[in-house]
């Protein structure tokens, strides 16, 4: 069963868990970008979600409350970005980068005194006999409820974007805000809601890191997951199910390198730890080289500020 000291079933099961934070953050950012806004503050919103979720979970003693708190924290921080870019028309790239720096600093401040505390556990969803199925049960049916929730969110975003009027209007705003405005849609309001959703999802992803993945609080706990989430959106060429694939791919590489380290592979640890980031860069280069179809799927108004001049 084991290959080179690694059990494939456990590897797949753990990559599903490892990819939850980046998957949530990426699907949130996908919605934001579909509305034509480029929010580079994902890392900042994730880490704020991580600390807010952690604090709330510790005080309430409930993991569920922790996730709610994480989503709220991310959403509140994203509102700062929304107000600055949508009403004061600041540059989206600069504002997003500033948001990350701000989030990292703020989370570190809030997190004073929370080091070394253990948060309440997030329980596995009892799926009864399903979990007993050999191999498949290990891979699919022994996870905590957030793993399933994150997949449901992907499905929901896909369905909303593809089949509903809300999704159509959102895509329209991201394609051409001038045209949407001319038809009477409230561009700024729609974008603010998209930004809030993106913030909430990033916060949820961050809370998953501090409540389940690690689970404790340390400064800089998200460790670049937000940047990978941004890369996944491009990798997925703005399609929800490809976000799932992308997240599993990157989550898989992370888990694999940990397993390889544990199995004592003959490669230096440093190369293994940097491999997810190197592969991220590589994938982005391949995706955006040549004006392929992937590059053309980007929302046309991405990153442009809208001002109703007349």
């Amino acid at each position: 069963m084991d290959i080179g000291g690694i059990n494939p079933a456990i590897l797949i099961a753990s990559l599903m868990v490892a990819s939850v934070p980046i998957m949530l953050a990426a699907i949130g950012e996908l919605v934001v970008e579909k509305a034509g806004v480029l929010n580079l503050g994902v890392e900042g919103m994730m880490i704020i979600g991580a600390i807010c979720g952690f604090v709330l979970a510790v005080y309430s003693g409930s993991a569920v409350m922790g996730f709610v708190g994480g989503a709220l924290g991310g959403a509140v921080l994203s509102l700062v970005f929304g107000l600055l870019t949508q009403f004061m028309l600041t540059n989206q790239v600069a504002t997003g980068l500033a948001l990350t720096l701000f989030g990292q600093g703020l989370s570190s401040m809030i997190g004073q005194g929370y080091n070394g505390i253990k948060p309440p556990a997030t329980t596995a969803l009892p799926l009864g006999p399903l979990a007993e199925i050999p191999v498949l049960g290990t891979i699919l049916f022994r996870h905590d409820w957030m793993v399933y929730t994150s997949i449901l969110i992907i499905a929901a975003v896909w369905a909303v974007l593809k089949y509903t009027r809300t999704g159509l209007i959102l895509r329209a705003v991201g394609e051409s805000h001038d045209a949407a405005h001319a038809l009477g849609y409230k561009v700024v309001r729609i974008r603010i809601f998209a930004i809030l959703f993106g913030g909430a999802m990033a916060g949820l992803g961050g809370a998953y890191v501090s409540l389940v993945r690690v689970p404790q609080w340390t400064d800089g706990i998200t460790a670049g997951a937000g940047w990978i989430a941004l890369a996944i959106v491009v990798f997925a060429s703005w399609r929800p199910w490809r976000v799932l694939i992308g997240a599993y791919l990157f989550g898989g590489i992370t888990v694999l390198q940990l397993n390889l380290q544990a199995a004592g592979a003959a490669i230096p640890v440093e190369y293994l730890s940097m491999s997810p980031y190197l592969i991220t860069i590589l994938v982005l280069v391949i995706m955006s080289s040549g004006r392929g179809k992937a590059a053309l799927n980007a929302p046309a108004a991405l990153g442009q500020n809208f001002h109703a001049s007349r």
Binding site: L168, R171, A172, A179, A180, A182, L183, R310
Partner: protein, 508 residues
Amino acid sequence: MTGTELLAISGVTKAYPGVVANSDVSFQIAEGEIHALLGENGAGKSTLVKMIYGLVKPDAGTMRFRGQSYQPTEPRQARATGVAMVFQHFSLFEALNVAENVALGMENPPPMRELSSRIKAVSQEYGLPLDPGRMVGDLSAGERQRVEIIRCLLQDPKLLIMDEPTSVLTPQEVEILFKTLRKLASEGTAILYISHKLEEIRTLCDEATILRRGKVVATCTPRERTAREMAELMVGATLTPPARNAKAKGAVALQVTGLSVASPIPFGTSLKDIGFSVARGEVLGIAGVAGNGQDELLLALSGEVRTARDTVKIDGAGMGDKGPNDRRAAGLVSAPEERLGHAAAPDMSLVENALLSGAVRKGLVSGGFIDWAKTAAFAAGIVKDFDVRTPGTHVAARALSGGNLQKFVVGRELSQAPGVIVINQPTWGVDAAAAAAIRQAILDRAAEGAAVVVISQDLDELLEIADNFAALNEGRLTAPRPVQGLTIDEIGLMMGGAHGMEVAHHGA
């Protein structure tokens, strides 16, 4: 033709900081009437219809729709009342398909499948075939307009507003559009038709309201007036058409043979085996619907895109592999369509912009150093000769209005004593008086012995100044023909006819 009153506008006023867009405007439209709103760029036509469509709130004045007070605060309300609008641009989404675009413009769209079949039905009924599943980005300009019209028709409007609908159409496509509009009017729909093309208004419209600087200056029945009378009402001055001197043609100055270029522009059109020659003193007009290779042709002629040496010859010397500065030195000047960012650097002053293209021919740079005094004099000369309205030559190009900047960039090229002139859209967005001045300047240079290529989408302009006429269609150029004796029908066919509109079951 005058039925019951549908929409009455009285005393409507709207001011923006620094400009009064509309001042005390009043007029009425009856049911089933095709009413023209006529005026130059900036006369306030667009602001007025935006108020009717609920995009802009008037400062003062009232509107009545079928006798009821009508004050739309947003387009949704206007659509619910029965007002629909076909925009000049900005209202289609390229990455969405036809059905999705239509759905976005409707209040309560039916499910997609039902909507698709209704689009097919309505588009066949009005002779505007459309495939609901196609991406709008892949459609031609005429087809895109059909999407907008169908979007309006599906809502069963009482008043249809059309903002400059024919600027992107071939003559045949215009014919089909007019047939549709007449059918609509006969069914009782009123149409508010905005344009500055006078002949069109004369053939289509029942009544006309003429705006000048935000005020109603006249109302008339277009059929009873000549185009010239209406033009003078619109401009408020007597127009003198450019004078053309009969002149002897000289030797061939620009010779293009077998020019094929892949487009450097995304979604652009590649040039395919283009060949023509222009003699000294001759003006060649090149027509075509936008996006048929005009930009690419200018790039290939100006030297921004290089080709094989002998595809472009200036005064007999192969220049195809040379860049813009070498071609300038050889006597070819060019003015592209896009003023800000291509013809002029937006944030640089007029003096600096004059230097950018004039350096070679006017000797403004010596030994790597700029002769600023000479450059400033050159820029001041352009401002004076071409009546550019600006506080001075120190202001940034972006601060000039479109028409004034156009006069400056065209003047800058024409002031370099060129042997060959290539201009794309010389009078785009320029008011009638300035346009006449630019055309006159082009004709004067030709009379002095320059070979001129004018690329334009304005057929009237080409017929006015060109000696020979050719059309670009999907990157191919038709053989040039003398303008004299050319009919509008022939021109339309040269431009590609109706782009497949005559095919009854197009894409179905």
